[in-house]
Every structure is written in C-alpha cells, then in structure tokens.
C-alpha cells in the first residue's frame, strides 16, 4: 500500500484543490454557517464525518453494484439517493442513541444534503477511478479543506461584525470579497504537489 500517494491526495484535496476556494463548491453552506465560530466548528466536524462515510458507501455501491450491472449512467441518482438515505438514517440513529450529540450537531446534518461537495466527491472518485483507500483519503482531504475554509472565514467574519462597512456591502457582499482575498492566498498553494 502506497501511503505516500494517500497523503498526497489528502494534501491536494484540502489545500491545492480546496473545494471552496478553487472549485467553488459548497458555497451556500460556506456563507450560511460561517457567521459564528461555534457553528462553523460544529458544521466542520459533522461534515467531515459524513463526507468520509458517504464516499466509502458510494465507492462500494459503484464498484460492486453499478459497474457489474452496467448502470453507471445513473450515478447521479444513485449517489444522491445514498447520501440522502445515509443522512436521514444518521439523523434518526443519533436522535435515539445520543440525544446530547444530536442536540449539538443535528441541525447541520439536515443542511448537509444540499451541500454540493458531498455529491461532488463521489462523482469525482468514480470519474477518476480511485481505489477504496484513495476515495477515503480524498473524502478526508475534502472534509478537512472545507473545515479549514469555514474556520478561517468564521474568524474573519466575527471581526467583520465590528468593522465600519459601507451600508450596501454589509453582510454577504463583503463576505464574498473577503472570500476572494482568501482564494487569492490559496492560489499560492498551487504547485505544492504535482500528482
């Protein structure tokens, strides 16, 4: 097993091809929950967990069900079905098993289905033909990258609340411009590793 390749995948997915800043996915959630540090951290944790599990699940289904049956053209429908079903069951199980955790992270679970990254990762995994461990590594990397983006953004937006911003730019517009500046910084990572 080539662990170097896996490590490269994690770094590449989290920094160089950061989903938020270079592929622009998951922006709705990114701008939605980055107002406060606490919600940003909660979202990051839930998201990374769901990301890893759903990329593993969809890899298994893709490899052992869809390829043999020759129905790969249905991958969009199948993947979104897997994710929706998994999120729904995680929601129900968590409510029963650990109400305290559910109280903390439950609201983020419901939001996750509308996050494009969660669907993009299985689609990219199957498109690139990653192996099982590589898919997991890609999932971990994308989860970490999203978490990093959320935490950076939340810490800036908490300070931004106190800043004197021209009225039309208050709220979302200034957040977009801040995100643009961070994206500019992230272009510095390109060329860190060539896969």
């Amino acid at each position: 097993m080539d662990f170097g390749k896996l490590f490269q995948l994690v770094v590449a997915a989290s920094l160089i091809n950061n989903f938020v800043f270079t592929r622009f996915l998951g922006l709705c959630i990114f701008f939605g929950v980055s107002k406060k540090m606490e919600t940003a951290v909660g979202m990051s944790v839930t998201f990374t967990a769901v990301m890893v599990i759903s990329s593993a699940l969809s890899w298994v289904v893709f490899k052992y069900l869809m390829v043999p049956l020759d129905i790969t053209f249905l991958k969009i429908i199948v993947f979104i079905g897997i994710i929706a079903a998994f999120v729904q069951s995680a929601d129900t199980i968590m409510k029963k098993v650990s109400p305290a955790l559910y109280y903390k992270l439950g609201i983020y679970l419901a939001l996750i289905t509308t996050n494009c990254i969660i669907l993009a990762v299985p689609l990219i995994n199957s498109g690139e033909g990653y192996s099982f461990l590589e898919s997991m590594a890609f999932g971990v990397g994308s989860g970490l990258g999203f978490a990093l983006a959320l935490v950076i953004m939340a810490s800036i937006r908490e300070k931004l609340e106190l800043a004197d911003i021209p009225a039309p730019f208050r709220g979302l517009p200034i957040s977009f411009i801040v995100a643009g500046l961070i994206a500019l910084a992230f272009t510095g990572f390109s060329g860190l590793i060539t896969l």
Binding site: I76, I80, I118, L119, P168, F169, P173, F176
Partner: protein, 217 residues
C-alpha cells in the same frame, strides 16, 4: 395548503427580480462563481437550470396529491436527479467542448438549494400552471444572474465575449481566476443593494411628502 393568488406574470417577475436566486436569496451560489469565467459557460448553465427548474416544478405539481409528506425529500431528490441526468447526457452528446469544462457543475444541479426549495415551498402546494410559471421565473432569474456575472468576468478578464476578442490590450487576469469570481459577485451584490437602498429612500421621501399634502389640503 396555501394556494397562490398571484397572476402568472407576477410569479415570473417575482422569480426574476424580487426573489432572484443569486443576488437576493443568495442560494445556489456554487455555479455562479464556478462557471461564469466565460459568457458561453454561463449561458449553458443558465439554460440547463431553466429547464430543470421548470420541469421539476411541473412534475412535482403533477404528482403532489400522491406524495406522502414523510418521504417527500427523497421523492423530490429523485425527480430532480432524473431531469439533471437527462440534461447531463444530452449535453455530453451535443455540446462536447462546453461539457468538458462545466460537466461536473451540471451534475451538481441536483444539490441546488433553489430547485429543491421551489419544489418544497411552491410546486407541492399549487396547481400546474402557476408552478410552471414560478419555475420559469426562478430559472430565468438565475439565467440573468449568470449572464450578468459572466459578461463582466469575460469582458474584464479576457477582453472577449463568447470567445470573440473585443477589447485589445492587457486584460485583468484576476477576473477569470477563482478569486475574481468572488470579487465580481460581491461587487454586483453590493451594487444591487445600493440600488435597493436608493429606491427605498426615494419611496420613503415620496411617502413623507404625500401625507403632508393631505393635511394641508
């Protein structure tokens, strides 16, 4: 069951302007930045969304009496995913070069909050014609936003429109870079807010003068 009492034209206008997906509701933002680096990509994305949104609203409205509320989310997802697969495959067949660039984002229309939201808030409660009008309006609103953003980005970033060179000289490369997308959307959003604030001020000023006329009269 809140049926709408707005006319179809009002519904279309509502989606285009007052509830514009990108600039007003700020949902479905991913493609607004990802595919707007050229006018052509923005155009194809916009057209796909108009199609998916209208057809999803039509279908959901047709089957609204048979949907069990408890499993409505998976049902909506399947309807949306079906139409997205349709447009994904037709685009892969007929518009190969564009598809190579924006294919992933076409597939991700499935995860659009706006399409899901219209099915959930509107189509499931309303008759077929108003639902189609609502879907059309929302789709066109999204389309317009994509056109505006990609127009500025391609013009400033490459000095071209639809791949044809228009302005010679050194373009602002940053506008076609990822960061430029965020800047463009942020600035445009700020501009529309500014227009809104000015309009509200004018309306408030008009409202202030109106009652005073009444009292003196």
């Amino acid at each position: 069951m809140a049926h709408t009492d707005k006319s179809n034209w009002e519904l279309i206008k509502n989606g285009m302007f007052s509830e514009n997906t990108i600039f007003r509701m700020a949902i479905s933002l991913c493609p607004s930045i990802a595919v707007t680096n050229s006018l052509k990509n923005g155009f194809f994305m916009g057209v796909s969304v108009i199609f998916v949104q209208t057809m999803v609203n039509l279908t959901v409205s047709l089957i609204r009496n048979f949907i069990n509320p408890k499993i409505r989310i998976p049902i909506f997802m399947m309807v949306i995913a079906g139409y997205v697969s349709l447009i994904d495959m037709s685009m892969a067949a007929f518009a190969r070069p564009v598809y190579k660039q924006i294919g992933l984002y076409i597939q991700l229309i499935v995860a659009f909050a706006s399409i899901f939201a219209r099915a959930e808030v509107f189509a499931v409660k309303n008759k077929i014609i108003p639902s189609v009008a609502d879907g059309l309006g929302m789709g066109i609103g999204f389309f317009l936003a994509m056109i505006v953003i990609s127009f500025f980005r391609e013009l400033l970033g490459k000095g071209a429109l639809w791949g044809l060179p228009i302005v010679s000289g050194n373009p602002l490369l940053i506008m076609v870079l990822p960061a430029g997308g965020f800047f463009a959307v942020g600035l445009l959003m700020g501009f529309f807010n500014w227009v809104d604030i000015r309009l509200a001020e004018r309306k408030a000023a008009a409202a202030e003068t109106a009652p005073s006329v009444e009292t003196t009269g």
